[in-house]
Subunit: 118 residues, 2 copies
Amino acid sequence: MSETFGRFVRDRRERLRESDATFSVRQVAHRIGVEPSFLSKVERGEAPPPSEAKIVALARELGEDPDVLLALAGKVSSDLQTVIRRRPELFAALIRELKNMPDRAVLRLVREVRDGDW
Amino acid sequence: MSETFGRFVRDRRERLRESDATFSVRQVAHRIGVEPSFLSKVERGEAPPPSEAKIVALARELGEDPDVLLALAGKVSSDLQTVIRRRPELFAALIRELKNMPDRAVLRLVREVRDGDW
DNA sequence: CAGATCGTGTACTATGTAGTACATACTCTA
DNA sequence: TAGAGTATGTACTACATAGTACACGATCTG
């Protein structure tokens, strides 16, 4: 485990801090509902990433995509898991089929479904 | 939680047992690598479902779809999670888009990708 | 009817998850 | 130069996960 999650969070937070002093470990920790020492450890990779709820709050705080931050933490959003669990065969087949497809292929499907004639 | 996992497993195992005496709690437990008392508790919903690896072994043993059994256990196969984590935005968008689509729509996509002109 | 096999009850445990609480030392800044 | 704010080190904890170990009484079988 290369602990890219912590590095990423620290990087984004410090960048935001350059123009906004409220992005200290203490204040961000307080806003997402954890102790500063814990956030500090997380950012330095000394503690594993926090729970899904805290990660989502952190993403909102940092202006990042929650799904991306969750992915860096080695997690998948529980609402996506719920969708898959409701129709496991169908979604398992689809996801495995798309596993090695290029981004543009997946994106094409997304658009096809979104504004398609269904 | 209505513990449908345990009920399902017990049902399948007992059905198989009618024609094959080796499908006792003890022997199946031994084959999937857990203690009989644990499998017994799981089947009666007194213990939560086992780990992913044991569930997959159990599915193989019972001739059931691993993804379905995992879903009943409230889990999503870790290999699917890995696929999603590699491209979180893309897959999150696709899955959320398909959340309320009928089975046939999803199935159409699967086939489109499988034997499509990509 | 003895021995094997069966399901299950009870007690226990190791590891991981998700943090808190508090103290300490550093660094701006008014 | 005092005090406000800052990051981090140390120690601890509650709860969940994923089981094992062993004994017991019931039942089946040769």
